[in-house]
Amino acid sequence: MTQQTTTRQSTGRRAGGAPAFRTSTKATSAQKRAPWILLAPFLALFLLTFVIPIISALFQSFTTVDREGLFGEDGVVGRFAGFDNYAIALQDSGFVASIGRMLLFGIVQVPVMIIACTILALLLESASARWPGFFRAIYFMPYGVPGVIATILWSFLYVPGLSPIVSLLQSMGLQPDFLGANSVLWSIANIVTWTYTGYNMLIIVAQLKSIPGEVYEAAKVDGANAFQVAWRIQIPLIAPALVLTTVFSIIGTLQLFAEPQILSTVAPAIDTEYTPNYAAYTNAFAFNEYGVASAQAVIIALAAFILSFTFLALTNRPPKDERDRRKRARRDGREARTALQTRAAAGSNGTSQAAPGLQARSGLQNGTKGADA
């Protein structure tokens, strides 16, 4: 908004002290070329590693390969196959089951992890936490451990005979089976949670740290207890960070591959179509079914898009009282503005017109402005 206007002004000026009233259309040719030169290396690589592969995946997914001769010895011919590959992919019960499995995984693991990291962040930032820096570092540590190595470590901790956890539970009279058909999905969820909780927590801690102290002071003056502060002040203000971490977690869930692939050697319940990605990998590299594998890759990407956008749309929808309030605010626009002007002197802003997505930010600005005043 303001950004654009400033750039327009800046491009309007010429190197060498040309008049400042020039408009954007009169920018020097050097300034017109510059953004493209700066973007060129990124765009070239983006084209090579994103755009072309995605287009070729789409193309492949509509193509099937006929092998000539009994064993394909007379060469192969590609032909347009319509939605055949998609039909094959979606009729494959293993692939469909893997999508269902990932939905179940996502519905359980993503909320558990987001709630856990929110609680941890709130506890670390609460007045009652001792040595918050130390604990924060410990929780963040697993993020530095590659998923493959985390899986290797946990796989050793799941295997009976090797794992001290299993033997500990057995000595307590329990019969844990971390690698059974029903439990192994949650063993994978544990690995993912272990790796990423601290990372997500750090994002939320950063957001919490940006809440100005005055907001807490005010809450205390108003007699809010710790839970009210967390629920009514901190959580609404960290909402943007929570949305971001949730979207990335959803995308991460759909990509799950390394954990099940590595655990499959110790857990017979994991077949080669355990996750959608694993299924696509198997089709491509074990069966050379590139068309079907491409169709599956497209389905995975589409699912990631749809889930991410659905979640973003849901969270950007203002709550009902907020919508009513905005309607009223628009009607009383003039009154609100006058009220705002009078209150501006006292160092406060009316934010009733701010979009809920911006609530956190306007809230923060409010606080900082209050501090500056």
Binding site: Q3, A15, F46, L120, L153, L202, I251, A301
Partner: protein, 311 residues
């Protein structure tokens, strides 16, 4: 509900105008502490910390044991012969020192990949933030779409593309995809829009500096905090990548450390000595990462706020 939080500062200011600004967050913390809640909260934090430490603690213990002791003694404490040094020697010398080669490969992939990826993302992000040109929104929208595309969805077609170019099973096959970071460009754009001083660019132009020179001398310096964050993200991303090298590489000599260790681990069923190679190798590869993560923690904090607030 948020309205209360937002109205609150004003109330505070009018009632106790002096105190609110003079009390720092730290002082407030101390005032609020009650001994009981402190014990409860810290207790919870300790229990959670144990969960995060257990696997790493286990591998430290396991790496000191012989294969026999690994199965016969308590996994949570030292037992049997102290075999750490001989285990490590095994790790470094097995198969002509291939472990060292894997580490070097990982450093090559993530070091070179992250440096160039950060540079390209900075140039692109700055161009999108500070120039007004036709197609700007389209380019940015397309790249933003790239952030949401799962990396593994492009890996398979990328393999087919690279294999038709004869690039598979070479260093390039892993390095080239590592040079692109749509998320890095997104962070750089947000940061450049907020922090690169337009008047400074103006001055440089008036002084007759070329656009590329302005980028290299003025802009990059101002963007340093974002560059560090993008670089670290990319290092971790490349270092941890498994799917891409798995499908691209067949030659063990080109493996990054993740693929190499997985290769060792997959042999434990047939050859139990691989337990020692794997645990020792995991220990050696994890220690520098964990130290780096803890030391560089603050850079994740700063940069992420920029992205998350906008997101």
């Amino acid at each position: 509900m948020t309205s209360e939080a937002i109205e609150a500062p004003a109330t505070a200011k009018t009632t106790v105008p002096v105190d609110t600004t003079s009390i720092s967050a730290h002082q407030r913390r101390k005032l609020d502490r009650s001994p009981r809640s402190q014990i409860v909260v810290t207790g919870i934090l300790v229990v959670v910390a144990l969960y995060f430490i257990v696997p790493l603690y286990w591998v430290v213990i396991a790496a000191t044991k012989t294969t026999g002791a690994l199965f016969s003694t308590n996994g949570f404490w030292f037992g049997g012969e102290f075999a750490l040094w001989s285990n490590l020697q095994q790790v470094f010398t097995y198969d002509g020192g291939i472990f060292v080669r894997w580490i070097a490969n990982s450093i090559l992939y993530s070091g070179v990949g992250a440096v160039l990826a950060t540079y390209f993302a900075a140039a692109g992000g700055y161009a999108l933030a500070k120039y007004d040109f036709r197609g700007r929104q389209f380019v940015f929208g397309t790249i933003l779409g790239g952030v949401l595309v799962p990396g593994t969805a492009t890996a398979l077609p990328l393999f087919l593309l690279f294999s038709s170019m004869g690039l598979t099973d070479t260093y390039w096959s892993v390095l080239i995809p590592s040079l692109v970071s749509p998320f890095g460009l997104f962070l750089c754009r947000v940061y450049a829009a907020a922090s690169v001083d337009t008047t400074l660019l103006e001055q440089a132009r008036i002084d007759g500096a070329g656009e590329l020179r302005i980028f290299h001398t003025v802009v990059l310096r101002q963007m340093t905090p974002a560059l560090v964050t993008v670089f670290l993200f990319q290092v971790v991303g490349i270092w941890n990548n498994f799917f891409l090298p798995l499908i691209m590489l067949a030659d063990q000599k080109l493996y990054p450390i993740t693929l190499g260790l997985n290769n060792w681990r997959s042999q434990v069923d047939r050859l139990p000595e691989f337990y020692q190679l794997t645990t020792g190798g995991v220990l050696v590869s994890v220690i520098p990462l964990v130290i780096a993560i803890i030391v560089l923690q603050r850079f994740w904090r700063g940069g992420l706020t920029e992205g998350s607030v906008k997101g």
